[in-house]
Structure formats: structure tokens, C-alpha cells
């Protein structure tokens, strides 16, 4: 019997399948390489299940549209790449401030500017964290294979709803365009989180921005019984603009704490052969594939090497990394940028001098050989 749940597809399609599984209702986007397939596939898939798709006039409008749709109670997403991600930043900050659940996929290409549109890069790690202005916190997830792209897309929707925050999916061109197998999980196999809605009845005061003890804010859909104000200004529990120092300080602290205090729940990673590892490769996204390949190969030659593959990049899993790397002789961060995660790793570990960067910034995928030459130098074996 034919199994329709097994596919041979691109990573961008795996992301679409994950979004459908998570219950996406609304997508707004604008064409941009290398993320366009997400837009194209959702244009076909969403109306089949009664959802809504709209191709907006630009990247900013796409971000605005998903925020508007989220407020009517819908699960929403947009997708883009570098230049588009830059354009979305102001509205992304709005979603942080107004606490609007939404998912933004950024299939990374080379930058800055128009850069290297059809080639891979991981240069937007820091932009995902600090791209919008002002202090805030953010969740950013990534994956190195299609099964995991599917899963973290579901996780992204779940976390967006749980923490009422934008969640960035940091994919990359290699993952987005590469084809490999995906087995779509059965319904119920992965948890799907629904929005927490207020139980306050109509006619009773509802405080849209008064967090519960656990920091969560039950929502009320636009069009429902509770009429309230949503603004990007600092606001009080009613959602009204307020610049009282206590209100401003309290809200900013809440926006950061609701994410940073839950770093352990948000933190996802995979580990390979770490138990006795003297050398640890830390990587994520498509570059983790080369790291895993090399580690497997070196293990076969008796070298005690392991891989820590990060799936949550923000909030950065500082504690977890410190613990995992405590016994290592050397840590090599494998990434395709000038060293965005390596800086965080140096901050995390007890001995920053033992942390090295194996990177590639040419638009080509970093190879096991690229990592191997650095490893040999560290081992004192020459290149």
C-alpha cells in the first residue's frame, strides 16, 4: 500500500508541511529567494483547508498582515530571506511589544544587502536576536534535516502561542532547497498547542495585558466580546499607552523574562557522541551535517569527538553549553558566518581560549574537510 506520509521534498516544503500540521490558518508573504517555495506551496495548500493566503505588496506589509490576522485568533506565518528579514524588523518588534503570536521563517542567504541570493549562509543569527530596535527577547529555532525542519516548525507555532511572541525559524539555503526524505507524523504524534484564550466573560473587565502569575497572557480574539487596545507604545494592563516609569520598566522586564526564564523549556538540541568527547563540534543548520559527518569519520579512527547540534539559537542555551563542554579539550564552532554563535559559546564556557571557529563565508556549504583541517591544527597534527 502506498504511504502518503513519506515524501521526498525540499526543506522549504518540509517547513510548509510542519506549518500545516501545526494548524496554520493565515500566511502573508512576498517572493524572495531562497524562501519562495514556502510562499508558493502555502498559496496552494492553505485554501484547500479553508485557510487564507495573501501575497502582499512588500515584506513590511506581509509582516503587518500576519499580525493583524493573529489578533483575530488565527495561527499565522510569513517567510522571507535576508533583505526581506531586514524590512520586517520594525513590525517584528511591534509583535514583541504587543505580544502577538507569529512565526517568521528566514531562509538565510549571503549578505549584507542583496548579497548572494542563491547561496547558503548563516549570517542572520545575530539579526534574528537584535534586528529590531530596542531591548527585547526573541525565540529563534533552526534545524539540519527535513524531519527536524518539520518538527521545529511545529515547535515554532507552539512556542509563539505559548509565549505570545514572534518566533524566527532560521533555515538556510541548503536546507531550504535540498531534497530529502520526510515522514509526516500522524496527527497527535507531535504536540500542537492551541492559543490560551481568556475565560473572562463578556461584560466583565478583561485586562489584555495583565500577565498571570506564570507570565502568560490569555488572549481574546478581535471580533469577540472584549474590545481592547493594542499598541506598540509602552502600555498598561488595558493596552493603553503609558510612559509611567514603573509601567515602562515593568513591561520591558516582562517581555524579556517571559522568554529568558523559560530558557530550559525553549532550549532544544541534539547530541552525538558527547559522553567521552575530548573535542566537541558545536553547529546548527546545514553546517551541522558536515560536523556530524566529520565526527563520525574521526570516531572511526579512534578520536574522541562529538557534536552538539543547536536547534534553539535564541534564547541562547548558555548553561547547557557550559555543562556539555566542561570536560572538552577543545570546542570548535562550525558555522557559515564570521563567527556569530562562537561569540556566545566563548561567553558560555569556562575556558574561552579552548573555543575555535571553523567557518566558511564564500556561499559554499562548509565541508567536513574544512573542519578537519582546523581540528588537525588544534590536535597539533598540522594541516
Amino acid at each position: 500500500m502506498k504511504n502518503n506520509n513519506i515524501r521526498f521534498i525540499q526543506g522549504n516544503e518540509a517547513c510548509v508541511e510542519g506549518a500545516i500540521y501545526a494548524g496554520i490558518d493565515f500566511f502573508a508573504g512576498y517572493p524572495i529567494t531562497p524562501s519562495t517555495e514556502i510562499l508558493e506551496h502555502l498559496a496552494a495548500r492553505l485554501p484547500q483547508k479553508g485557510g487564507k493566503f495573501i501575497q502582499m505588496e512588500d515584506e513590511i506589509a506581509s509582516m503587518g498582515a500576519i499580525i493583524g490576522a493573529s489578533l483575530t485568533g488565527k495561527k499565522v506565518m510569513t517567510a522571507t530571506s535576508g533583505p526581506g528579514f531586514s524590512l520586517k524588523q520594525e513590525a517584528l518588534g511591534y509583535a514583541c511589544m504587543a505580544e502577538i503570536p507569529c512565526v517568521i521563517a528566514n531562509v538565510q542567504r549571503g549578505g549584507p544587502s542583496t548579497g548572494n541570493p542563491t547561496h547558503v549562509s548563516q549570517g542572520d543569527v545575530n539579526q534574528a536576536r537584535w534586528g529590531t530596535h530596542g531591548d527585547h527577547s526573541i525565540i529563534a529555532l533552526t534545524a539540519s534535516n527535513h524531519q527536524d525542519v518539520f518538527k521545529i516548525t511545529v515547535d515554532a507555532f507552539n512556542m509563539a502561542e505559548t509565549y505570545r511572541t514572534p518566533v524566527v525559524l532560521l533555515l538556510d539555503e541548503t536546507i531550504g532547497h535540498m531534497r530529502e526524505k520526510l515522514v509526516i507524523p500522524e496527527p497527535g504524534e507531535l504536540p500542537v498547542v492551541e492559543r490560551l484564550r481568556t475565560s473572562v466573560k463578556g461584560g466583565v473587565d478583561y485586562h489584555p495585558y495583565l500577565p498571570r502569575d506564570d507570565g502568560r497572557l490569555p488572549m481574546s480574539d478581535f471580533g469577540g466580546e472584549h474590545r481592547y487596545n493594542v499598541t506598540g507604545l509602552f502600555h498598561d494592563m488595558w493596552g493603553f499607552p503609558n510612559n509611567n516609569p514603573n509601567v515602562v520598566g515593568g513591561l520591558l522586564r516582562h517581555l524579556v523574562d517571559k522568554i529568558e526564564n523559560n530558557v530550559n523549556d525553549i532550549c532544544m538540541y541534539k547530541e552525538y557522541w558527547l559522553d567521552d568527547a575530548e573535542y566537541i563540534l558545536i553547529s546548527y543548520g546545514s553546517s551541522a551535517r558536515s560536523a556530524i559527518h566529520l565526527a563520525k569519520n574521526r570516531r572511526a579512527r579512534g578520536i574522541k569527538i562529538g557534536v552538539l547540534e543547536l536547534q534553539t539559537l535564541w534564547p541562547f542555551p548558555t548553561e547547557m553549553i557550559r555543562e556539555k563542554c566542561a570536560g572538552a579539550k577543545a570546542v570548535i564552532v562550525v558555522e557559515m558566518n564570521m563567527g556569530q554563535v562562537v561569540t556566545q559559546v566563548k561567553n558560555a564556557v569556562d575556558n574561552p581560549n579552548s573555543v575555535f571557529l571553523a567557518n566558511k563565508i564564500s556561499g559554499e556549504l562548509i565541508s567536513p574537510e574544512d573542519i578537519k583541517s582546523l581540528l588537525r591544527m588544534i590536535q597539533g597534527k598540522g594541516v
Binding site: 490558518d25 493565515f26 502573508a28 496552494a44 485554501p47 484547500q48 479553508g50 487564507k52 495573501i54 502582499m56 505588496e57 512588500d58 513590511i60 506589509a61 506581509s62 509582516m63 503587518g64 498582515a65 500576519i66 499580525i67 493583524g68 490576522a69 493573529s70 489578533l71 483575530t72 485568533g73 488565527k74 499565522v76 520594525e90 513590525a91 511591534y94 478581535f222 471580533g223 469577540g224 466580546e225 474590545r227 481592547y228 487596545n229 493594542v230 499598541t231 506598540g232 507604545l233 488595558w238 493603553f240 499607552p241
Partner: protein, 274 residues
């Protein structure tokens, strides 16, 4: 509420007052016209979403007791598009300033018009950036004084009506805050119109535009709206073609509304699945 006598207190959030507008500002008349329009239409407050951007005019969204979304500068129409398309039963109203609507938000303005999505855009045109202290806007026109045009403006202005028409808006009208009843009637028609409606309302900013351009105080500026404007096609235009026309310029009911068109896409897509 239709049968009840209009009381603005039924429609505002008193907690949010006093408002931020200067004495003599025309925006309060727009607010009042909007509330009267909503009252006369007998709309349920729960079915209205008011979405605005940034600027003096955009503060309207907070003052009214509807679902209200105060967004970022220039982008209100894109947020409203998301609200409307995701829940087409809602009435979407977007009050905007001239800079908000047609400088930073110009792209969203023309595309919302092109799509003919059922949103009522109220462009409150005071020909100046008031909130930031009196910089010229794309509606100021040439030869005006502004803090960013100390030697007078050389930027030509848009005609909101012509722009909206060309971009495909299916309801286009203009009024002024002097003509408060006309204003209310036009807003009513705009809200009732199934499609993208643009209502331009000329409203005075005595603080920054009037003072700098020696147009007098608020009363004088309102007086000017009386003398400088005429109904569409008025005979006075023959003698004085420079007069600004008021009224409904476009009212087309034969263009598909975007959300309804999308519903047919859903039908087609679902058939393909069956």
C-alpha cells in the same frame, strides 16, 4: 443602539481621555463624525476593528470603544488587510494622517485600493506632520512654510482623490471638518460600501500649518473650508476652477471585493481536494 439618541459616551473610552490634540485641531470633528456614522448605521461595537498607524490622527483608534489596533507608521492598511481577510465579517476602519497614508504608507494605500479589499480608509488631511512638530507632508504642496522647508516647499502635492481613483478604489469621497454632517454621511456610505473606500477629510492644524502659513486660527481655517470648497460640479467652478470639490467622486459596485473573491478561491481549492 440605533434607536437610542446619540451619546458619544457610548462610543469612547473615557479612561483614555483627555485626548492629545491641540486646541482648535480638526481631528475631534472627524472622531465625532465617525462615531455618529457608526451610531446611525446601527453597528455593533464588537464587529468594528479600527486600525491606525502613527501620528496625531492615528490616536483615534485608542479613543473609541471598538477593537482597536494602533500599529506602526504608515502600515495600518497592511495590518487591517490581515484583520479583514482573516475575519471578513468585521468592519475595518482605518483613520490615517496625510503623511501616514501617502508618504510612508503610500505603497499600502495604492495596493489596498487595487485589491478592493473592504476597508474604509479615512485620510485626515491637515497637510502637515503635526505630531513631530510641523514638517511638510506630501499633501502640503508648493510654496508652503514648514520646519523642514524654512525657504518654502518645492515638493508638489498628491491629489488624494485622483490617486485613490487611479489606484482602483471603488468608493472615493472628500469632505471637510467644516461640513460635519456631510462628513458623517460620507463616512457612513464609505463604511457601507463593499470594497475599498477612501474618504479624504480636510482638517485644520492651526498649531503648525495654520500659524506657519498665516492661515489664521482654527476658526479662520474652518471658514476657509467653507469658502474654498464647493460640491462636485458646482457652477462656482466656472468662475473659480481652483475651488476644491467635495462629495462622492467614485462609487462602483461592479468590482469584486477581495475577501469574497478569495472565498471563491477556497471553493475551487477545496473542490480540487475532494
Amino acid at each position: 443602539m440605533k434607536n437610542k439618541k446619540f451619546d458619544f459616551k457610548d462610543y469612547i473610552r473615557q479612561r483614555f481621555f483627555p485626548h492629545i490634540w491641540c486646541p482648535g485641531c480638526g481631528h475631534g470633528i472627524v472622531l465625532s463624525s465617525l462615531l455618529r456614522a457608526v451610531h446611525e448605521l446601527g453597528l455593533n461595537k464588537n464587529e468594528i476593528v479600527i486600525t491606525s498607524g502613527i501620528g496625531c490622527s492615528s490616536r483615534i483608534s485608542g479613543y473609541v470603544d471598538f477593537h482597536s489596533l494602533h500599529t506602526i507608521h504608515g502600515r495600518a492598511l497592511s495590518f487591517a488587510t490581515g484583520v479583514k481577510l482573516s475575519k471578513p465579517d468585521l468592519k475595518a476602519i482605518v483613520p490615517m494622517g496625510d503623511g501616514d497614508a501617502l508618504a510612508i504608507g503610500g505603497n499600502h494605500f495604492i495596493h489596498a485600493a487595487r485589491r478592493n479589499i473592504d476597508i474604509t480608509a479615512i485620510v485626515m488631511n491637515n497637510r502637515i506632520y503635526g505630531m513631530t512638530g510641523g514638517q511638510f507632508s506630501p499633501l502640503s504642496g508648493c510654496g508652503k512654510q514648514a520646519t523642514t522647508a524654512p525657504y518654502s516647499t518645492i515638493d508638489r502635492e498628491f491629489d488624494v482623490v485622483d490617486l485613490a481613483k487611479s489606484a482602483g478604489a471603488t468608493f472615493v469621497a472628500r469632505s471637510t471638518v467644516f461640513h460635519a454632517n456631510e462628513c458623517k454621511d460620507i463616512i457612513k456610505k464609505g463604511i457601507n460600501h463593499k470594497g475599498f473606500s477612501v474618504v479624504e477629510i480636510l482638517t485644520q492644524c492651526p498649531t503648525y500649518y495654520g500659524r506657519k502659513n498665516k492661515e489664521g486660527d482654527a476658526v479662520q481655517m474652518m471658514e476657509n473650508y467653507k469658502t474654498n470648497t464647493v460640491k462636485i460640479g458646482s457652477k462656482k467652478l466656472e468662475k473659480n476652477p481652483g475651488l476644491i470639490q467635495r462629495g462622492i467622486f467614485v462609487e462602483k459596485n461592479d468590482v469584486p471585493e477581495y475577501c469574497e473573491a478569495y472565498d471563491r478561491i477556497i471553493e475551487t481549492a477545496m473542490k480540487g481536494q475532494a
